[in-house]
């Protein structure tokens, strides 16, 4: 609980410091909005040309897109320490100072950065969700709301877990490994669309290795009343736990890797 309070407090401070340059902040947030709107436009243009994708209507596709962008950019906003800065901490030796303080390394990394410009991307994601719900005429119920909240919440942990893979490589080799981008950013791009449109190898990758499908797509399909692979309703609440599981695994690996951390000394 104490850790949570610390995290909330640092987020508040970071937000305040970012807002010290309002003009620059507004312009950069605007740029983020336009950037994500560009991605959204691509989806809209595809819907315009192809109408639907297998059993998924245009509205459904917008919903999937919105769910992914909200989840991904929430992670990039509040987990900036892991998703963006960790490599620099290792390279510059700043991680050493974290080791001296009476808190967990990961807690301090998370508390060290925040990227409020991402609110722009999140806003576009929310717009896509609203548009998608309208077009697909989603009937919201308490259960569906719960599934949605669970999906986003655990999705954030899943993405943090995936970025931890990169962090572990970074501890090992100092350089950040571009290859891992294939499952983080690649996962984001691929899983903006429902998993069942992809061929088997990609489906396995994003179900077993990087379980975006279990954490985001199964609940989304439940909310849209088109259960993924015809699975029963309870799976929409059970499968997102894969995200938490992945984070737990990567957390353990990370702690193990930290035992072998050698400072760059700079």
């Amino acid at each position: 609980m104490d850790t949570l309070k610390l995290y909330v407090k640092s987020m508040g401070m970071l937000l305040k410091s970012q807002l010290q340059y309002p003009a620059s902040f507004c312009l950069q947030t605007l740029a983020q909005i336009v950037m994500e709107a560009g991605e959204l436009m691509a989806v809209l243009l595809l819907i315009d040309r192809f109408d639907s994708l297998n059993q998924w209507s245009g509205g459904d596709l917008l919903f999937f897109f919105g769910l992914m962008s909200v989840t991904f950019y929430l992670t990039e906003c509040f987990g900036r320490g892991i998703t963006g800065n960790f490599g620099n901490f290792v390279r510059t030796g700043q991680l050493d100072t974290f080791l001296l303080r009476p808190r967990g390394v990961l807690t301090q990394v998370l508390c060290s950065a925040m990227d409020p410009r991402r609110f722009g991307c999140i806003a576009v994601g929310v717009a896509a969700l609203i548009l998608g719900c309208r077009q697909s005429q989603v009937q919201w119920t308490a259960w569906k709301a719960l599934a949605f909240a669970e999906s986003v919440f655990l999705g954030v942990w899943l993405i943090l877990g995936l970025f931890l893979i990169e962090a572990v490589f970074c501890i090992h080799s100092v350089k950040s490994v571009e290859l891992v981008n294939a499952i983080t950013y690649g996962g984001r791009s691929a899983c903006e669309y429902p998993i069942d449109v992809y061929p088997r190898p990609l489906r396995i990758l994003f179900t077993v290795v990087a379980p975006f499908a279990l954490t985001l797509h199964v609940p989304a399909a439940y909310i849209l009343d088109k259960p993924m692979y015809g699975w029963p309703a309870w799976t929409a609440f059970a499968t997102p736990l894969a995200g938490a599981a992945l984070f737990a695994v990567m957390y353990t690996v990370f702690q193990y890797a930290m035992r072998f951390y050698r400072s760059t000394g700079s």
Partner: protein
């Protein structure tokens, strides 16, 4: 002229030094390409279009292969602007615009060729309907290569305009992101221009962004016939000339009111 040539050559050599970093990037880009191809195949299965799927996958692979041509900027120049070291460049007996044009051209050329070769090889090995098809004809291939060089000149002049704005505002991350987004969208990287609504085609294929990769790719796939090639070259040339003129103007104005950052 000799000075610009040697700036170009120096940069060429430097770019070829970082071969290790290329491997990870290429694998990543191949992965993105596979995902896109899988997606378009699924979309095509639902509602086939007049343009065959082979053309779309060829388009995707060529875009992915030459991706680096668009997103490579001279980080040294950015640093120089920020630290004020640009003052040294002002003392050089060369025209600054041309000097940096030569540098960025070398960077984009080598950067993209080093990545394109392994990627295109991989894409050629994929089964039909997944990978890249052979060019429409030999003349079409030759013309596509020529227009790719035209595209390179065009993208370099665009890049220098972005740089011109950076000099003005120091921190132009917002502006840069906007210009890059325009480039990624209207060059056909995010979504092939051929899949944009038909009613848009007349306009978007005439924008400078379409001259970079879209025009060469359309010549390659035969969507633009060989007879149409002169028209393509003229469009590329006119845009490049106009953008260079605009860039020169912008840089010249910047030099007049340039404030060298101290410290």
């Amino acid at each position: 002229m000799k000075a610009y040539l040697s700036a170009f050559r120096m940069r060429l050599r430097m770019e070829t030094q970082y071969r290790g970093a290329v491997v990870g990037g290429v694998i990543c880009q191949v992965f993105f390409g596979l995902v896109l191809v899988a997606l378009y195949r699924a979309l095509y299965a639902g509602k086939p279009q007049s343009m065959p799927i082979e053309t779309v996958t060829t388009y995707v692979w060529l875009q992915q292969a030459f991706f680096r041509m668009m997103l490579a900027s001279d980080s040294e120049l950015l640093d120089k602007i920020r630290t004020g070291a640009i003052a040294y460049d002002l003392c050089r007996p060369v025209q600054m615009y041309g000097y940096y044009y030569a540098r960025i051209m070398a960077q984009k050329l080598v950067g993209s060729l080093m990545r394109a070769a392994p990627m295109l090889l991989f894409a050629a090995l994929l089964p039909r309907g997944w990978g890249i098809s052979v060019p429409d004809s030999m003349p079409a291939f030759a013309l596509a290569v020529i227009s790719l060089l035209g595209g390179l000149l065009c993208v370099c002049s665009l890049e220098n305009i972005t740089m011109g704005f950076t000099m003005r505002t120091l921190d132009s991350r917002g502006m840069q992101a906007l210009l890059n987004l325009l480039m990624m969208t209207f060059s056909g990287n995010i979504l092939p221009l051929t899949l944009f609504p038909d009613s848009w085609q007349r306009v978007i294929t005439r924008l400078p962004y379409a001259q970079i990769l879209d025009a060469p790719i359309r010549l390659y796939t035969g969507e633009r016939a060989v007879a149409q090639a002169p028209g393509v070259f003229i469009t590329q040339f006119v845009w490049t000339a106009a953008l260079i003129a605009l860039g020169l103007l912008l840089w010249r104005q910047n030099q007049k009111r340039l404030i060298v950052q101290g410290g």
